[in-house]
Symmetry: C2
Subunit: 325 residues, 2 copies
DNA sequence: GGAATAGTGTCTTTTAGACAGTATTCA
DNA sequence: TGAATACTGTCTAAAAGACACTATTCC
């Protein structure tokens, strides 16, 4: 950043100026950490070989929300950009310092933190689980990976059900009236309501966190002119259920726009089946293999290596192409 | 938001707790206000009938960056969510209180504001120029709409030119070595560099603001794991050249993902030609009319009204469909 | 009628989706 | 050999793009 040049007149201004006269919030940087991994110590008899999409949560040892689970994060330090605070917190927790990190949202609703005025700037991070080493709990800190299930339950819930469409006077034709009126402009805004159920599970400890969110989507669309309400919440601290929901929805969209993002969730070399599984986990849907491979071909390149140690035909290992936009 | 319940033990904790012991930043909410409108008082002889994409800027009357142009914005107040601060500033400036508002980014780079530690949470707003009434300058405030030109000048500038691709040992085949190595993992990260020229013009006053930005896109992609450098800047305050650039790039992407966003830039009724022009302005490209109309058909519905006062065949007026997702 | 813009029909190309099939490995 | 997964070829449907065409209004 260029240094700012100051005139004498301006120096005088700054001398008498004090930003700290005004009310200021505390600013936190929180991170929704995504990865894909197996439920290794799976207690069930049925084998779940597929890797699951997971997020990292930490059990709060102190007030407020003592005992609840929260995203890793902490307060921003002076002299540090907000995203760098997020990266610092991320690295302290996982040892990873070069993850893909992207802004999810800014959360400053009054009352969201009982300690006072705290604004959270929340980021999502994508990382390869293999490279990640969770911090050895210094203060008996409990950090765990939770599987993520986010489903749209709009139709099965209360209300008129479904998309509660505004059915309005769509055609008043035949009047011969040709003059443009502005009267009903406001009332023609689209309003849409959706309900999501978020379920986070840790297979090891049988911990299950759940929440139900109501999203009211005013005006046109886009993921950010909406408002969210937490209707139910079990075991998650603060408004983190809402933030995690937005992060998961954001991840789905981001990966749809740019499939290359998924590479950040895998080690450098991977089989195409593993890669396909990542997209299936993120989008919560099955893909047909031949079509998927045709689509992904432009982003990957073969290596000479093959997967080892599997029970059947070994798959060729691929890696991302570095020469493609 | 649900109220938080407090135990006696927890009450004791809060009594001894003081967030304000720690360093806190000032938090500002700034807004990149977009609209489309004609250069009405066009001085040139050639007629430019097309409406242009414009942003609203305000001339700074005081230090710092006195005389430079900046986005509307101001400090957040306690008891107000950050996006609501943005809406409040927007309404004070334009009289519009129901615009589409969406987060662009959080800017907290040390040194970005010479007054001290100021974090800007920046939003974009889309509005219909007709409904907007600029604030009558209470302190001789100067607010103007500037046309936006943002062009990729990567190839015509210094450096190796173009996308500076990492051409690495893509195939070392023939060695028979089948063991997966992790050594070069870090060095295989994609790194891309782009250069943008931002030109903002006000036809009335012949004011022209320019900047050149360098964007280094680390890791995979996505608009937010990148870093921006302001290489040149004429007449824009703070880091607003960078923020405006990100907002314009974001708008292009957002509208590509959801074409319905463009309706927020127009009055309730519009001709399809006007609508097409909006997309052409945003994406800085020409669209072919028949294909555009086929694409947009699902989002609009006819009205009985026709455009009036034009020199040739009057066009039918349409409006957005409110019953479509 | 001419100028200018509004609006349509249809062909081609590209992309996405469905699905049947072959190939290779281990036990 | 069979079980299980890896991988491919090809048909079909849908979306995007190109482009020539007709229609309506004002002057």
């Amino acid at each position: 950043m260029k240094t700012y040049e100051t005139s004498d007149e301006e120096k005088k201004f700054f001398a008498g100026y004090d930003l700290t006269k005004y009310d200021r919030p505390s600013v936190a940087a929180d991170v929704v950490v995504f990865s894909v991994m197996k439920d290794d110590e799976c207690k069930d008899v049925r084998r779940l070989q597929e890797k699951k999409l997971k997020i990292l949560l930490i059990r709060r040892g102190g007030f407020p929300y003592k005992g609840c689970w929260a995203m890793p994060g902490g307060f921003c330090k002076k002299g540090e950009d907000v995203i760098d605070s997020a990266r610092r917190e991320l690295c302290e927790e996982t040892g990873i310092d070069d993850a893909y990190v992207k802004l999810v949202g800014v959360y400053g609703e009054p009352g969201r933190d009982p300690r006072g005025w705290v604004i959270s700037s929340t980021y999502m991070a994508l990382m390869n689980a293999r490279a990640c080493h969770l911090k050895a709990g210094d203060d008996a800190q409990d950090a765990r990976w939770f599987t993520v299930e986010l489903t749209d339950v709009s139709t099965e819930m209360s209300g008129a059900g479904g998309h509660s469409v505004n059915e309005m006077s769509t055609k008043v034709s035949g009047t011969g009236e040709e003059i443009v009126k502005n009267e009903d402009e406001a009332s023609r805004k689209v309003q849409n309501e959706k309900r999501y159920r978020l379920v986070l599970k840790d297979a090891d400890s049988d911990i299950k966190l759940t929440a139900v969110l109501r999203r009211t989507d005013m005006s046109s669309c886009g993921r950010s002119s909406d408002s969210y309400d937490i209707e139910e919440c079990e075991g998650l601290a603060f408004d983190h259920a809402r933030i995690i929901t937005e992060a998961v929805l954001g991840l789905r969209e981001d990966v749809r726009r740019d499939m290359k993002l998924a590479f950040d969730l895998l080690p450098e070399r991977f089989t195409l089946t593993e890669l396909q599984n990542v997209y299936e986990q993120i989008w919560d849907m099955e893909l047909t293999t031949p079509n998927f491979r045709r689509k992904i071909a432009e982003y990957v390149e073969e290596t000479d290596a093959y997967q080892a140690g599997e029970r059947y035909r070994p798959a060729k290992l691929f890696r991302r192409r570095t020469d493609v936009r």
